[in-house]
């Protein structure tokens, strides 16, 4: 996976060096050239605006009140605190991260749960959602924003994260998220692609959205309603049919530190 800010490192260094070169009269290529020891270069800020300490935990996540218990500092690089334990259907999360309810290109719909009870995950799933949202926004996708549903259950007060999350059978260890199919009318509302509402289903945008998620996370499967989604994974064994997935699709990423814990 290539993080977009990695490409910016080379560009930033080149621009900085050129700028200094020009300021010192370097336009005359045959004139005076500074001795390398005369050049003082401030370290370029290679961190993206949304993650100023470059620790891959976004500023929004680090300043999210629900995550205060972790003591994350947006100015200081923090290690990934989250660990997925057990399995998708029998597991829990250590030091889960709460997804900010709104971010670039996405919005979390609360659904049937109370605020900050249904949106806890590992850093990897949070990164996938946030980066997918930025890609969605940067590629000029029109509204709606990506509709993010349930991640894993959690309680910031008791610090209990993951575990059983009815009516889900999975969603237990912070590696899964439910997302709405994309509507073509811009409304940030549910969409059931199996009924008459399917006229409002934007198939192409939904395919784009899934590809953004795959580009930003180690997606191992996506549950969809294959009869109505009109999507294929070209034999890559990512898309699977599951009843009950006509009003959202379900994305699962691999366990970043393996399944042994």
């Amino acid at each position: 996976m290539i993080r977009p800010w990695c490409n910016k490192l080379g560009t930033a260094l080149l621009v900085t060096a050129c700028s200094i070169f020009l300021n010192m009269g370097g336009c005359d290529l045959f004139g005076w050239l500074p001795h390398p020891s005369d050049i003082v270069v401030d370290p370029p800020n290679i961190c993206p605006q949304w993650d100023v300490d470059c620790d891959q935990i976004s500023n929004a996540v680090e300043t999210n009140g629900a995550n205060a218990y972790l003591g994350l500092d947006p100015q200081v690089a923090n290690a990934n605190p989250s660990i997925a334990h057990g399995t998708y259907s029998d597991g829990w999360i250590e030091n889960a991260l709460n997804l900010p309810n709104v971010g670039t290109g996405y919005s979390h719909y609360i659904g049937s749960d109370t605020v900050d009870k249904d949106d806890w995950g590992t850093l990897d799933v949070v990164i996938m959602i946030e980066a997918g949202g930025r890609d969605w926004y940067n590629d000029n996708h029109p509204p709606p924003r990506i509709g993010i549903g349930d991640l894993s259950h959690g309680d910031a007060t008791s610090h209990q994260f993951g575990g059983q999350f009815p009516p889900h059978s999975c969603h237990e260890n912070g590696l899964e998220v439910d997302i709405r199919y994309v509507r073509n009318d811009g409304a940030e509302l549910p969409l059931n692609i199996a009924g008459p509402d399917s006229l409002k289903y934007d198939i192409s945008a939904t395919a784009d959205l899934m590809n953004y998620l795959i580009a930003n996370g180690d997606v191992v499967l996506i549950y969809i309603d294959t009869a109505h989604a009109y999507l294929t994974d070209s034999g890559q064994d990512i898309l699977h049919h599951w009843p009950g997935h006509s009003d959202h699709f379900h994305v699962r990423i691999s366990d970043p530190d393996g399944t042994g814990n």
Partner: protein, 329 residues
């Protein structure tokens, strides 16, 4: 044991703007109600062995779905939703949902105005077991179960039997109502009006009750399992390999499993691993009828599963634009 695959070519008739060529097996259509739902909420009825079909019922509501025919072919039922669940302006609209029952002539004989999510016929075709859901939150989908009920068609009487139910099945072999609940699988005796907890893991019993299928839980990454009802033992090892996906129990008698293996040719668009399907063509669709007790492939035949639905005594398959009825004598 003998099985018959009946394919008899009959006449071609024009229905609406398209042509159906119908093949039926002699008298197999006599007295049977076979219906199909069109996209504009029209129910069509297969009208005779010569292939005629006729408009059966037209709904002026927003969405008709979950059409079935009763076990003896006396009634058809469907779920009707009065409006969209959500409006374009952002405010949720709670649709009026009903379970509607029609007689053979398309007349409404019973209607249960309730948030029905799924239902199943009693073996005698006179009652329905159903589960209801309601939105837990006005902005979200129907997630919260609100009860399981028995609906008596002839009495137009509906009775609640439990508060929390996710799925329901009225078993043919013992006439008990099986309910998937948060407390496991329950059985309800509609005569004694008693509820019991069972050790079963699921409710998809074969018509003769010898076996049941256990479908993986919501979002669980596992496969369908087969259990022997008497011992409650997993006998998935009896299932054949390379026969495609399980469709379900094939007929309303015995314990014949229907598998279908479909190979499609897709026309796709887009870049990236996920692509949009612009067109699909079925190259081959091989059906297998299998009897797990004897590990016996009873028959194989080609064809896709038809949108026409009947009383369950036959399979209705489409092949080369024609209907094929597959029967057990």
């Amino acid at each position: 044991m003998h099985f018959k695959l009946t394919i008899v070519i009959a006449s071609v008739v024009i229905v609406s703007t398209f042509v159906i060529a119908l093949t039926v097996g002699g008298d197999s259509l006599t007295g049977r109600l076979i219906v199909k739902l069109e996209k504009d909420n029209r129910l069509m009825k297969l009208a005779g062995a010569d292939g005629r079909s006729a408009e059966f019922y037209v709904s002026d509501k927003y969405w008709v779905h979950s059409v079935t025919v009763s076990p003896h072919g006396d009634y058809a039922a469907f779920i009707e939703e009065a409006g969209p669940r959500y409006t374009d302006t952002g405010s949720a609209a709670h649709p009026k949902i009903a379970l509607v029952v029609l007689d053979e002539d398309g007349r409404i004989v019973a209607r249960a105005n309730t948030d029905v999510k799924m239902y199943d016929w009693s073996p005698d075709g006179r009652r329905l077991a159903l589960v209801t859901f309601a939105p837990c939150d006005p902005d979200y989908e129907f997630k919260c179960p609100t009860g399981a009920w028995i609906f008596d068609i002839e009495q137009s009487d509906i009775t609640k039997i439990t508060d929390t139910a996710y799925a329901i099945r009225w078993a043919e072999h013992d006439s008990l109502v099986y309910i998937k609940s948060s407390d496991g699988v329950l059985s309800y005796n509609p005569v004694a009006r008693t509820m019991s907890k069972t050790a079963y893991l699921d409710i998809d019993f074969s018509p003769d009750g010898e076996y049941y299928l256990s479908h993986p839980g919501f979002e669980r990454d596992s496969v369908i399992q087969l259990y022997e009802t008497g011992t409650n033992k997993n006998v998935a090892g009896l299932l054949p390999q390379d026969t495609g996906n399980i469709v379900g129990w094939a007929f309303n008698v015995g314990h014949f499993l229907h598998f279908v293996n479909v190979v499609e040719e897709l026309e796709t668009a887009g870049t990236g691993p996920i692509k949009v399907i612009k067109g699909r063509k079925v190259k081959t669709a091989v059906n297998t009828i299998y009897e797990p007790g004897g590990r016996l492939v009873v028959m194989t035949f080609e064809g896709t599963i038809s949108p026409w639905c009947g009383d369950g005594s036959t399979l209705i398959i489409e092949r080369d634009g024609k209907l094929v009825l597959v029967e057990i004598p």
